[in-house]
């Protein structure tokens, strides 16, 4: 910490490093779809927003939103293509980005820009079980944990950061302060989350079934 502070104070171009994350739940099982991010605490300037090409998508297919969780830096646009056989009516009532895409037919795609940080929950007005999360962050150092629950962020300048983890079944964002040093193989940043029950609406096994359990 002192070292990072010294680098910042001296204004020297700092060497980048890798930060590994490891996320498990209360039963030590790897957690998928956890959004990990690093928020610089000592004024490290994040790089400018770069447009991704091709742009990120949350597609509607087989009456589901895919992917379930998307993490983006504020100012990023996301396309919502309908690649399904039925119409959908995507909406969000989340304060970070309210929108509504009234009944649009298969083949159409809307692109929405997410500028305010926050969690945007996307639903479909005509299919109760369809849900997707867009986690909008102000930092570029972010990632989504894959199946093993481990992910590594590269190109992180040395310095002090607030490491954050978000998950749909987590009651509150978990944070921890870390210091990134340009050493070779730092120990991974471990998070153990206490996840709530998965309270998502179960889709009926067949179309004629009930919409919830």
């Amino acid at each position: 910490m002192l070292l990072g502070f010294a680098f910042a104070f001296l204004g020297v171009a700092l060497p980048a490093a890798e930060v590994a994350f490891k996320v498990v739940d209360q039963k030590n099982q790897p957690v998928v779809d956890a959004v990990v991010s690093l928020v610089p605490l000592d004024g490290t300037a994040p790089p400018a927003v770069a447009s991704t090409s091709p742009p990120l998508e949350i597609e509607q297919k087989r009456q589901e939103f895919i992917p379930y969780v998307t993490a983006i830096r504020a100012g990023t646009a996301i396309r919502f293509p309908n690649r399904d056989t039925v119409e959908h009516h995507a909406y969000s009532q989340s304060p970070a980005r309210k929108f509504e895409l009234p009944l649009y037919k298969p083949g159409r795609a809307e692109t929405l820009l997410f500028e305010r940080p926050g969690v945007v929950t996307v639903g479909c007005n005509i299919h109760d079980w369809m849900i997707a999360y867009v986690v909008v962050l102000s930092t570029p150092w972010l990632a989504l944990t894959p199946a093993p629950g481990e992910i590594t962020l590269g190109n992180v300048p040395a310095g002090r950061y607030r490491a954050e983890v978000w998950h749909p079944r987590l009651a509150k964002v978990q944070t921890r302060e870390i210091t990134v040093a340009p050493s070779a193989n730092p120990a991974p940043v471990s998070f153990q989350l206490t996840l709530k029950a998965d309270q998502r609406v179960r889709r009926a096994p067949d179309a004629s079934g009930r919409g919830y359990r």
Partner: protein
């Protein structure tokens, strides 16, 4: 235990006790079985009611939850709830919601559990809802249900999430278990329902009359307390038909007891009356009335007893008759001795004074009189003489035609037997003189007699065969007495009574009886001459009347 002197009372008591205890036992068993059956039936009914209640509550909870869930997806509602913060609007939305799902109350809670709005007015009941919201928040299906007391009414509450599409709020829906609800439950199950919270009664259908069987269902309430749902059924009501039956049984019981009593008295009378009858007759027989007969025409044991009784009475009468005859045929003393010692053959040797009296001139008389008149005259004479002998304690041994043989000192020993015998002889003389006066009045000639008295040791006892015997004495002394009597016919002696020296020696008072010695005479059958004495007055005066006619001994 009681002791009854009367057979009738004892029988009555026994039969009443037996019948009564059997009936009572039966009655108790029936009552017990009725109660057990009633209790079992009530338990079954309470089971059904408990299941019914659980089913109704579960069903209504499910209906409310489904309705609330369906409505919570309503886009317009969702839009309104998420966009407005006006409490009045929120409440109106919830009231609309309440109307659509048919709930008793609806409340909206934030994801943190704070109360946003509710349809009921009054003090907010957030505390009643929050524990359920927390439970739902942790449940995988994001639902929870439970009981809460709101506005003094027990409510069944369900909490479901409001999704957009993640959970953005919680909706509480509930229905009241109020008076109307329990009344309906009572109507369908027939069971009284009482709702309590702690010790406080919230609602009840129970009029609380008599004894109830209770099934208490305990349900936790969201305030940490306990609601009790008491399902009750009146035991009295269930037992009413059984009690009616028991009343009938009671009447039957009392009736049969009366019948048993009557029967017992009848039986007792049937037995005791003949017995009392027999007892009365027994008393009569004891008093000497042998002629009475028990009149009991029965085939049974009592009839046999009566027959035996009659036979016994007849036997007693027969014996009495025999005794009477015995008394007449033998002297009372001999009869008593026979009855006492039995009629065994044999005897013992003792000193006895024997008196022999013979009627003189009887043969002449028998020629003059008709046989019947002769017998009457003889009996009259014998009766008088016997009277004198018995008055002196003598015993008539036998009558030998017109002769009398009497004993003194046998069978009952008499220390003054000799005195008595001589006194009897003298008395007989006088008695004959009186009799002669009577006979003279009747135109009969006078009678004369001779008496011999001797004292000797003889054998006294029963003499004869096994079938027929007499009490008598045997010995030489008897012959001597007879001979002495014969000597009275000797004119020189001038006496009617002759006795021996042996008798004189046995006298206690030799100065009496006017004794005078007659010297020694040769007695027939005796080698030695015998010293004899005359007793009483000289026979002259008596003999003059007779005319001194010598008569031989009668046969």
């Amino acid at each position: 235990m009681f002791r009854f002197r009367s057979y009738r009372l004892r029988l009555l008591f026994l039969i009443l006790a037996l019948t009564g205890s059997a009936q009572l036992l039966a009655f108790l068993i029936v009552a017990r079985v009725h109660r057990t059956m009633a209790e079992r039936e009530i338990q079954r009914q309470l089971d059904v009611a408990a299941v019914q209640l659980a089913r109704v509550v579960k069903q209504r909870n499910a209906d409310l939850a489904r309705g609330a869930s369906v409505l919570s997806y309503d886009a317009g509602l969702r839009e309104t709830l998420s966009s407005t913060d006006d409490i009045g609007t929120l409440r109106s939305v919830l009231e609309n919601f309440q109307g659509r799902v048919g709930a008793g109350l609806v409340a909206l809670l934030s994801t943190e559990g704070s109360l946003l709005a509710e349809t009921r007015r009054g003090l907010p009941a957030a505390n009643a809802y929050q524990p359920l919201q927390q439970a739902a928040d942790e449940a995988e299906n994001a639902q929870a249900s439970g009981y809460a007391v709101v506005d003094d009414i027990l409510h069944s509450l369900v909490v479901v999430p409001l999704r957009a599409p993640n959970i953005v709020a919680w909706v509480v829906v509930g229905f009241p278990l109020d008076q109307q609800f329990i009344a309906a439950l009572k109507e369908t199950t027939g069971v009284e329902v009482t709702l309590r919270h702690g010790s406080r009664t919230l609602a009840t259908t129970n009029p609380n009359r008599g004894e109830y069987l209770t099934r208490a269902l305990e349900r936790p309430t969201t305030d940490g307390g306990t609601a009790s749902i008491l399902l009750q059924y009146s035991l009295d009501e269930k037992l009413a038909p059984a009690r009616r039956l028991q009343r009938v049984l009671g009447f039957v019981f009392a009736g049969s007891l009366v019948l048993a009593a009557l029967l017992a008295m009848g039986i007792a009378r049937n037995v005791s009356e003949p017995v009392q009858h027999l007892a009365a007759h027994t008393r009569k027989i004891a008093a000497g009335d042998y002629e009475t007969r028990v009149d009991l025409h029965r085939e049974d044991e009592l009839g046999q007893l009566a027959a035996s009784f009659n036979a016994m009475a007849a036997g007693l009468a027969e014996r009495d008759r025999v005794r009477d005859l015995l008394d007449k045929n033998v002297s009372p003393e001999v009869a008593a001795q026979l009855l006492r010692d039995g009629a065994a053959l044999g005897g013992d040797e003792r000193e006895v004074t024997i008196l022999f009296a013979d009627l003189r001139g009887f043969t002449t008389l028998s020629e003059k009189l008709a046989p019947r008149d002769l017998l009457a005259l003889l009996n009259r004479y014998l009766d008088r003489m016997s009277g004198e002998i018995e008055r002196q304690g003598g015993v008539i041994d036998k009558f030998i035609g017109d002769a009398i043989m009497a004993l003194f000192g046998a069978p009952v020993p008499q220390p003054d037997a000799a005195d008595r015998a001589l006194a009897a002889a003298v008395a007989m003389e006088h008695a004959l003189a009186e009799l002669n006066l009577e006979l003279a009045r009747d135109g009969h000639p006078p009678l004369a007699l001779g008496i011999g008295v001797n004292t000797a040791r003889v054998i006294a006892g029963n003499i004869g065969s096994h079938r027929r015997l007499n009490y008598s004495v045997l010995g030489d002394g008897v012959n001597v007495a007879s001979r002495l009597q014969s000597l009275t016919r000797t004119p020189e002696f001038d006496t009617n009574v002759i006795t021996s020296a042996a008798t004189i020696a046995a006298l206690r008072d030799p100065s009496a009886h006017g004794l005078r010695p007659l010297g020694r005479v040769q007695v027939k059958g005796r080698s030695e001459p015998v010293e004899i004495f005359a007793a009483g007055s000289p026979s002259a005066d008596a003999a003059s009347a007779i005319g001194g006619v010598g008569v031989g001994p009668g046969s």
